[in-house]
Symmetry: C2
Subunit: 209 residues, 2 copies
Amino acid sequence: MAGPRGEYRKSAQRREQILDAAFVVFSRSGYTAGSVSEIARQVGISQTSVMHHFAGGKLALLRGVLERRDATAEGLLQGLEGRDFLGALVEISRRQTGQRGVVQLYRILSTEATDPEHPAHAYFRERSHRIADAVTVAFAQAKAAGQLREGVDPRAAALSTLSMTEGLEMMWLYGHDVDMADDIRVFIDSFLTDPLEPAAGRSAIALGD
Amino acid sequence: MAGPRGEYRKSAQRREQILDAAFVVFSRSGYTAGSVSEIARQVGISQTSVMHHFAGGKLALLRGVLERRDATAEGLLQGLEGRDFLGALVEISRRQTGQRGVVQLYRILSTEATDPEHPAHAYFRERSHRIADAVTVAFAQAKAAGQLREGVDPRAAALSTLSMTEGLEMMWLYGHDVDMADDIRVFIDSFLTDPLEPAAGRSAIALGD
């Protein structure tokens, strides 16, 4: 018989199954058109069971999907500062080239939510500003270490780096000849006195896969 | 009594009304969730009447909305080459700062359609590549005229200019401190031997409003 810890594990597994299904449904239909009932059907459980695990409904499911994705990125950035943080952004882009579905889903959801009346607008807006602040801090640390070219403003560098990252994702999804990782590395290099090291950085981090 | 020409005018007006409604509905619900019946209701006509004007249904309505928007941009680019074409791209971005709804709609629809199975995928993909080709030609013309910095590749410059444009739109929609027009001008300037002229270009073209 499953004790309390067995129950907990079972519940955690069920949450993961639901998030997998939510990922598939949101990828296919977007957030507005995706439905909790379709997610429940995919898992083979009732809508009530889904709500038992995600009391906040569709928005809670969206957060769950995105937080799972963000956790991977945050793991890569953990404890990094300045140039190292900027190098890890390149690595995050590199990993995304193998995850078209994730990139597509994130682009679709975050774009739908540009509408101020969209239920996830505040969530995405807050997330976007949080990331911009973190990247600004990294550029400021690089500046303090004398690693930025003269006249580069950390905030402006951060905002344009993020613009370029988002735009490259769109161009990549439409089949243009861009390399999300190398192109963002070259772009970040344009702010730095010494370039990030593509080959070493790539293989060193990729070993952790 | 309305003769054939009166009938034609009436029909053209009705098409415009339908496209206005399609714009509103797609802006609010996106393409997938937006419905022809809702568009018909907005105009106060039947769904059959909408289909009479747009036999291709929802996809034809989407094309109609986007082509109306593209016609304005194409008018600005008409007959321009090289640097002048690139300067007009800046002007197009400047005009968009007054049209949040248009930017938002275009971003939402083009992002939904990144899914290869989306009915408008081929349309957006073809459009995106057509624009990339036109911007590449403009950079190549600038290069031939000796106006590009050494080592700048027209194709790479075009793809990164378009990435930056798309990304800046997203950042702007999320309330970041970016200036879509000035930021893209500075970005294009980074490829040019002589900068585009912001103030003169702005007032000269803006007079045509």
